[in-house]
């Protein structure tokens, strides 16, 4: 893989394309961008035909080892790798260790092992087992095994130091095995930068990981809920200073639009796209505006909406937990949408907005129908991907400040339907 940067803002944002992805090297991914979130190869709620009503899908699909690990035997019997098993044809497979949506119970990591949780319980992974899984899954790209259990507020300095040391040791061992494994030739490995909330440890981890022959870097232990935004940005900025400019940086566990913007400014290239899924699971629809093209008509409409929504703001907590609604979405279970016959977002080209209305989505949610998840996932994914498109465009046009203003002040439309 090769990162071609077209713009670099001093010590901060980067705009470019990650090329040479996949076995044939044919795929590419624009940065800043996100991966397509799945746990087991399928975007939650979507089958191939509903998924492909979406345009401009990321070329890289994320799988999580935590979901796949329990099926190791079946995959080994199958012999042909996860891609064929899941019927995924034209995509690059990236295998992460954990699922950003499901936090792991703490206290199970040792010097030699990390654990993932499958449906049958805890599965302990040594580097050997971790690499055996990679060999069986045959992704195009994976993160090396890492100890990221530093997100709890009372994590000691000693514990943080251990996480850095262990992660480096795991990386070295993974790389050794990787180079000896036939099935993993041509596959990219990302090193993982740890360090909890301690600046010196973060810098140490970054410096050391950068010395290894990895294709790029995962930034771990910084997920939403682990620390406040200001500290996160400070740490990321310090880390990216130590990392080579020409290699991509993937930030794990962060997905909220405001966080994304701040982290891109600190030098992050890639994100996981689990946020639309979380929004879907709480029966909500993303509706924040990221359109900064000047339009006098809309300016008037928005001024009206602002007046209507004043006093209905929903602050995003610093330690916003996964299931808390953000100001970037509307809650379709709310009674006010019962007879709202507008699409989720006016002008959104997704299948849901082209065909259905808020009232129908409200009905599906109230009656617990499966289709609610399908339609919401389609919309939320489309909206989120379009946001990243707008972000890249803003970087290209030097209008990032305008975009930030628009996204950050936005409190999702809570206006009553116009009679």
């Amino acid at each position: 893989m090769k990162l071609e940067l077209s713009r670099v803002v001093q010590g901060g944002c980067r705009l470019g394309v990650l090329k040479g992805l996949g076995r044939s090297g044919q795929h590419s991914l624009e940065v800043p961008g996100c991966l397509l979130y799945t746990r087991c190869g399928t975007v939650p709620h979507l089958t191939q035909d509903t998924l492909h009503t979406l345009t401009n899908l990321p070329s890289v699909t994320q799988l999580t080892l935590s979901t796949i690990a329990e099926h190791q035997e079946v995959l080994e019997d199958f012999k042909d790798g996860f891609r064929k098993f899941a019927g995924l044809h034209d995509t690059v497979l990236y295998c992460s260790l954990h699922d950003p949506v499901t936090p792991c119970p703490a206290g199970h990591i040792t010097n030699k092992t990390v654990s993932v949780w499958g449906s049958g319980g805890r599965i302990e992974l040594t580097v050997a087992k971790f690499m055996a899984l990679q060999r069986t899954v045959r992704p195009d790209w994976y993160q090396s095994m890492a100890d990221g259990e530093t997100w709890q507020s009372n994590t000691s300095r000693k514990r943080v130091r251990k996480s850095v040391d262990r992660t480096l040791a795991h990386l070295d061992e993974c790389l050794l095995v990787h180079h000896k494994t036939q099935e993993l030739q041509g596959v990219a490995v990302f090193g993982v930068v740890e360090g909890g909330d301690i600046l010196e440890e973060r810098v140490r981890s970054a410096k050391e990981t950068a010395k290894r022959p990895v294709a790029g870097f995962c930034l771990d232990g910084l997920q939403t809920g682990s620390m406040d935004q200001a500290l996160r940005i400070q740490l990321i900025a310090a880390v990216t200073k130590e990392l080579p400019e020409g290699k991509p940086r993937l930030l794990q566990g962060v997905g909220r639009p405001d966080e994304v913007l701040a982290c891109v400014e600190a030098g992050v290239d890639l994100f996981e796209s689990f946020f639309p899924f979380q929004v879907t699971e709480r029966g909500c629809a993303l509706c924040f505006n990221f359109d900064i093209t000047p339009d006098p008509e809309r300016a008037v409409l928005e001024a009206d909406e602002e007046r209507d929504t004043a006093g209905e703001t929903h602050e995003n907590g610093e330690l916003n937990l996964d299931d808390q609604m953000t100001s970037f979405e509307i809650n379709l279970k709310d009674k006010r949408y019962q007879d709202d016959f507008r699409p989720l977002v006016e002008g959104c080209g997704c299948y849901c907005c082209r065909n259905h209305q808020r009232a129908y989505l409200h009905h599906l949610l109230v009656t617990n129908e499966l289709l609610a998840g399908v339609l919401l996932m389609l919309h939320n994914t489309a909206h989120y991907l379009a946001f990243f498109g707008a972000l890249r465009e803003a970087l290209a046009q030097d209008t990032l400040d305008l975009l930030k203003k628009k996204v950050l002040k936005e409190k999702c439309g809570q206006t009553k339907s116009k009679e």
């Binding site: 746990r39 087991c40 190869g41 399928t42 975007v43 939650p44 709620h45 979507l46 089958t47 035909d49 509903t50 009503t53 979901t67 796949i68 099926h71 079946v74 098993f85 899941a86 449906s119 019962q338 007879d339 016959f341 299948y351 065909n355 259905h356 209305q357 009232a359 129908y360 409200h362 009905h363 599906l364 109230v366 009656t367 129908e369 499966l370 289709l371 998840g373 399908v374 339609l375």
Partner: protein
Amino acid sequence: MAAPIERGVDTNTPEINMSLKKTLSAVSPLTLRIVAECPVTKARACDLVLPHCTVNTPVFMPVGTQGTLKGITVDQLESLGCQICLGNTYHLGMRPGPELIEKANGLHGFMKWKNNLLTDSGGFQMVSLVELSEVTEEGVKFKSPYDGKEILLSPEKSISIQNSLGSDIMMQLDDVVSSTVTGPRVEEAMHRSIRWLDRCIAANKNPDKQNLFAIIQGGLNAELRKICLEEMTQRDVPGFAIGGLSGGEEKDDFWRMVTLSTDHLPREKPRYLMGVGSVCLRAYLHALFKTDTAAMHHVTVHNIAYQVSAGRATAENRYRS
């Protein structure tokens, strides 16, 4: 094979056939074209022309109880070849309610379904939720499971809701008893169903757009069935359903009632056998998908495709024989 009931008119002359057909298409939004008939059995393949599109029969109708088909989009349903599917009056009448659906341009407009819809009367819930209901001549009294309020589902109310839903085929409200019930209740229900059919016909606000089907009752009693058939076929309805079966009775009894009914139903009108169609599939749901709803969607898609092709295969066999 028994001869059809004579009604004092020889309906088999070409002239009368033509004029009957003309009358049918002029007054009812339903036309049945019989494309092929089996020389051995009573099976036939037809084109059932309804307001939204033509339906090729025999057909299995996918069930979209609450205005959606278990996780698949209407586009997916359409590309699977579905020409008609079901909605449930009881559920939709409760949530979101007929007023809202009318505002949304009927159930078609609410779900964005382009092909045909059939709604049942809401009466089947009587059998399935029987502890909660009380049947009187007025209608069925329910206690709403959502707010505990008492509701009366009368023939008039059922048709009113179905008129709001705007389905292409509506079912009469019938007094349903389980086929395992015996005794005077069966006869009472059969006679009441006839009276309720007349009330439904009177209550239908849209006879030019919506087809009201009668439902033949009578349990597993041949005499009662015959009486019901005799009476109901005298009403001018565009189609008939055979009801009160598929509730756990013996297969032999089931078939006997079905064939008795089709012996006495008019040839030129469609016949709907209610509650039949569950297909036992051993769908191999891979362990990997067990936590994802998409797995269910895959199965739904598979099941519907199976049923649609089963219907088609049946029709094709009719063409051949």
